[in-house]
Amino acid sequence: MPGAIYAEGLVKTFGKVRALDGVDLDVPEGTVLGLLGPNGAGKTTAVRVLTTLLRPDSGRAVVAGLDVLHKPNEVRRSIGLSGQFAAVDEYLTGRENLQMVGQLYQMSARAAKARAGELLERFNLAEAADRPSKTYSGGMRRRLDLAAALVVSPPVMFMDEPTTGLDPRNRQQLWEVIQELVAGGTTLLLTTQYLEEADHLAHDIAVIDHGRVIARGTSDELKAQTGGERVEVVVHDRQQLTPATEILNRFGRGETTVEQHTRKITVPVAGGAKLLAEVIRDLDAQGVEIDDIGLRRPTLDDVFISLTGHAAEAGPGENGNNGNGGPDAAKEMEAAL
């Protein structure tokens, strides 16, 4: 049985650019998939196809057991979408925004009102509930947007770069909300260009670049795929590079690299901390004096660079906008075009 979100061979072209070039996805119910990729990789296009906003040129997608192309309206009843920027009406109060969305999800006016009250409490917006959302901070607007996506407690959620443009504190808060949500059994597809975010929130990660999924797996699997752990040793004296290299070769699972000028030896290993202890003992026994030694695990950054040949994020400074940044979406569209 396909997962709560399932896609097969999605292709979407804008002019000459293949924004999606045969994307397959499978997200089991109750799990989080992090769709990780740089600007213009096709993340937003994938989300737009899965949320019925865009028809793919070819391919198939099933969300909550419903075919996206043939039953779009039924799909819409089962999903919540929190887009790339806070899609709330700034002249409406937080409460009015949520009530409107509830009614458009076909709830009765009374049910929508009650639900709006609940969500405002839960998202810590009760005090600001009756102020136009124009007066909200970026973080509050984001929370309101997320609340709007949760009005009917949809079983499947899509979040397109939910924390882009938020400061670290607001990001942390939003992460907590998302974790709570997932603990409640919601299936979530989350796009992000922050590797840390994918590491933190997602069970599985699909790395997407130029419209293709170029790697997938858990965060640990991806890291292992990039080369796994390695021991790095900096010897005190350049004379000792040779004996130290001989010792490390005994433990190594691959090619040992030696950097003469920094006196650093790096060797891929398997065996973790226990092995590190042995390495230290042997070096000591041979009288090799060391300045630094450590077991290094690759970060998702390493994974990303080794997979795509370029770094993932432009840095929060460049991307950090005011939180309702239409321009950011435009940027991704342009990049996709």
């Binding site: 049985m1 396909p2 737009r48 949320t51 019925t52 906003l53 865009l54 028809r55 909550a64 057991g65 419903l66 309206n73 039924e74 819409r76 009843r77 089962s78 999903i79 979408l81 887009g83 790339q84 920027f85 806070a86 899609a87 709330v88 009406d89 700034e90 002249y91 409406l92 009015e96 409107m100 969305v101 009614q103 458009l104 999800y105 076909q106 709830m107 136009p132 709007a148 009917v152 407690s153 949809p154 079983p155 499947v156 309702n324 239409g326 979406a329 435009a330 569209m333």
Partner: protein, 289 residues
């Protein structure tokens, strides 16, 4: 494959009632939202009033003395022109609401609200219908204020309440029809600014190459034909007839819409709604910000 029972448990939102009932309800929910916005940004409504009032003053007192209305004569001329003019100003005012609809929808696209609406299980035409209905309400309010100003400068509706209401009804229908053109423009351009200018530019030739401000008999032949078949002229002529604002000897042009202006006005407006509503809703379904 997933069985039917599993599917039904996964549907979080209530079952839509579907059909026209849902369409109407969804449209009213969106209309309410747009009306709340208008109340919170009263400047828009106020500026919407300033322009027609300015036009009334300009045309009545600056150009009025120089523009003759056939069929009238003598020193009462400028008073005759003021009455003649008002239907034109009324009609121009409701058509200018077009730009508002366009800018509003372009703004919703730009801010991602259209994406949100499109991801909801709501009726496909409701976002646009709600917007155009709210603009209709705004036009009605504007017409009331403008009519009061017109009364102050001596305009009267001479044929009784029923004809007067029919006249205003045709004006609002024209405004509603044009707001669908605005909706289509708003969905097509990329920014609210472009929607505002794009929504206004074509209104100038449309409203001036018409019988609204000067009689068609004063124009070159080609323009004369365009003016007499212009949907905008039909409504202006119909309103003038219904308000009794034509001087007794006014030579009505021979063109069919000028001879049957009430019917022509209604037909034009309905055709515009049908055509542009279809295009706009189709555009909305595939809208991408």
């Amino acid at each position: 494959m997933t069985t039917a029972t599993e599917v039904s448990t996964k549907l979080a939102a209530p079952v839509p009632r579907g059909g026209i009932a849902q369409s109407v309800r969804d449209s009213l929910v969106v209309a309410r939202r747009n009306l709340i916005r208008m109340m919170r940004i009263p400047e828009v409504v106020v500026f919407g009033l300033v322009q027609p009032i300015m036009f009334v003053v300009l045309f009545s007192y600056v150009f009025g003395g120089a523009i003759g209305v056939p069929g009238s004569s003598g020193p009462a001329d400028s008073e005759v022109y003021r009455e003649f003019l008002m239907a034109g100003i009324f009609a121009q005012t409701v058509t200018f609401a077009t730009a508002g609809a366009g800018a509003g929808i372009a703004d919703d696209m730009h801010k991602g609200l259209i994406d949100r609406f499109r991801s909801l299980p709501m009726s496909r035409g409701a976002v646009l219908t709600g917007r155009t209905l709210a603009d209709l309400a705004q036009s009605a309010l504007t017409l009331v204020v403008l009519a009061l100003v017109a009364l102050l400068i001596g305009w009267r509706a001479h044929n009784g309440v029923v004809d007067m209401l029919a006249g205003f009804g045709l004006l609002l229908l024209l405004g509603y029809a044009f707001s669908w053109i605005g909706a289509l423009i708003g969905l097509t351009v990329r920014t609210p600014e472009a929607a505002t200018s794009g929504g206004l530019i074509w209104l100038f030739p449309l409203t001036f190459v018409s019988i609204a401000f000067v009689p068609s008999s004063s124009m070159p032949t080609v323009l004369q034909h365009i003016a007499e078949w212009n949907p905008f002229s039909a409504t202006v002529q119909a309103t003038r007839e219904l308000f009794g604002n034509l001087p007794a000897g006014y030579p009505v042009p021979d063109a069919w819409p000028m001879q049957h202006p009430v019917l022509a006005s209604a037909i034009w407006s309905v055709l515009i709604i049908m055509f542009f509503r279809t295009l706009a809703v189709r555009k909305y379904r595939s809208a991408t910000a």
